[in-house]
Amino acid sequence: MSANARWEREVSVSKEVMSGRFTARTDESFVVFVMGVRVNRVFAFRSWVGLMWSLRSMLRELRGRPETGFLGGHTHFCWRGVTLFQYWNSYKELEKYSRNPDEGHMPGWQKFNRRVRKGGAVGLWHEAYLVGPGCYEAVYADVPMSGLARATTCVPAFGGKETRRRRDIRNGTNDVDGKDEEISVAVAPEVAREAG
């Protein structure tokens, strides 16, 4: 299936509300990347229109390309800007993408530094969280498949497994013991490895 066809199928999934309660399942570590653009001076069109445009082409470029490590994401708006919420396989892959001169990010970033940054007409920000295996929990009720569930695996919530997993997060025992085989939470120090 072509990347575009895959993406179109994804879009149709993203509009269909799933009734009931669901959660996201992944045994791997992952990265949550939040990135925003803020238009500080609305009339400085030349500063921000191009930037928004390159943001759009970056998102298009990432669509349906799991080999980059991009798992999925969603876009929200805020006062004077847009914010992207993305899920990545690892920090290394996110970094590799952002520094690759052949991908859309690097030229966009250089352009921003050259033309816009000093003037202050546009603001940029990002936050990245490295989430260890099992160090998350999520619930989706009557929404389309979205967020982490769409980026990983979407499963019905509140089966025995899920209740136990949530309890283990609460007790801080989510990443150990192997007493309970049903909780298939890997123990690998993935996050340390990625950062190092």
Partner: protein
């Protein structure tokens, strides 16, 4: 309106923390009596949290898309978040019960949340020409210079003991 701070800044937090994203989706715009109370339930909760920092709430930012708002909240720990969510004296539980009674699973309003537990040093952040927001507002807003200049340096720098 928040004041823009020119230059490069980052957030500093030496402790673990939790990021909590919560959103709602209006599936049926005509069901105003279902979604309006859901939207309005968030205000009192945030006011209560801002008034009582000892509950473990560090800060929040507001985002929206066409079908509804979402909040990104920063918490001291998952325990604090859960305690607030389940404590009968705090406004969340009554609001949640009300939601279950009035909306329940009729599908007119959808809700979702995601929580991530972030260990010390497992985050990095940069803010360029931005007002103080996000993690920096919730924790400490400091210039991204020297050992905090690049993403990798920031990530390594925040490791405990470094």
């Amino acid at each position: 309106m928040a004041k823009v701070v020119n230059g490069r800044f980052t957030a500093k937090m030496d402790e673990p923390f939790a990021v909590f994203m919560i959103g709602m989706r209006i599936n049926n715009f005509l069901a105003v009596r279902k979604w309006l109370p859901t939207v309005r339930a968030m205000g009192p909760m945030l006011r209560e949290l801002h008034k009582h920092p000892e509950k473990g709430f560090l800060g929040a930012d507001f985002f929206f898309h066409l079908r509804g708002p979402m909040l990104v909240q920063y918490w001291r720990s998952f325990d604090d978040l859960e305690h607030f969510a389940k404590n009968t004296d705090d406004p969340h539980l009554p609001a949640w019960r009300r939601f279950n009674k009035t909306v329940g699973s009729d599908g007119s309003v959808g809700v979702w949340h995601e929580t991530y537990i972030v260990e010390p040093g497992n985050y990095e952040a940069i803010y360029v020409n931005m007002p103080i927001l996000g993690l920096a507002k919730a924790t400490e807003h400091i210039p991204a210079i020297g050992r905090r200049e690049t993403a990798r340096k920031r990530l390594m720098r925040e490791k405990p003991g470094s």
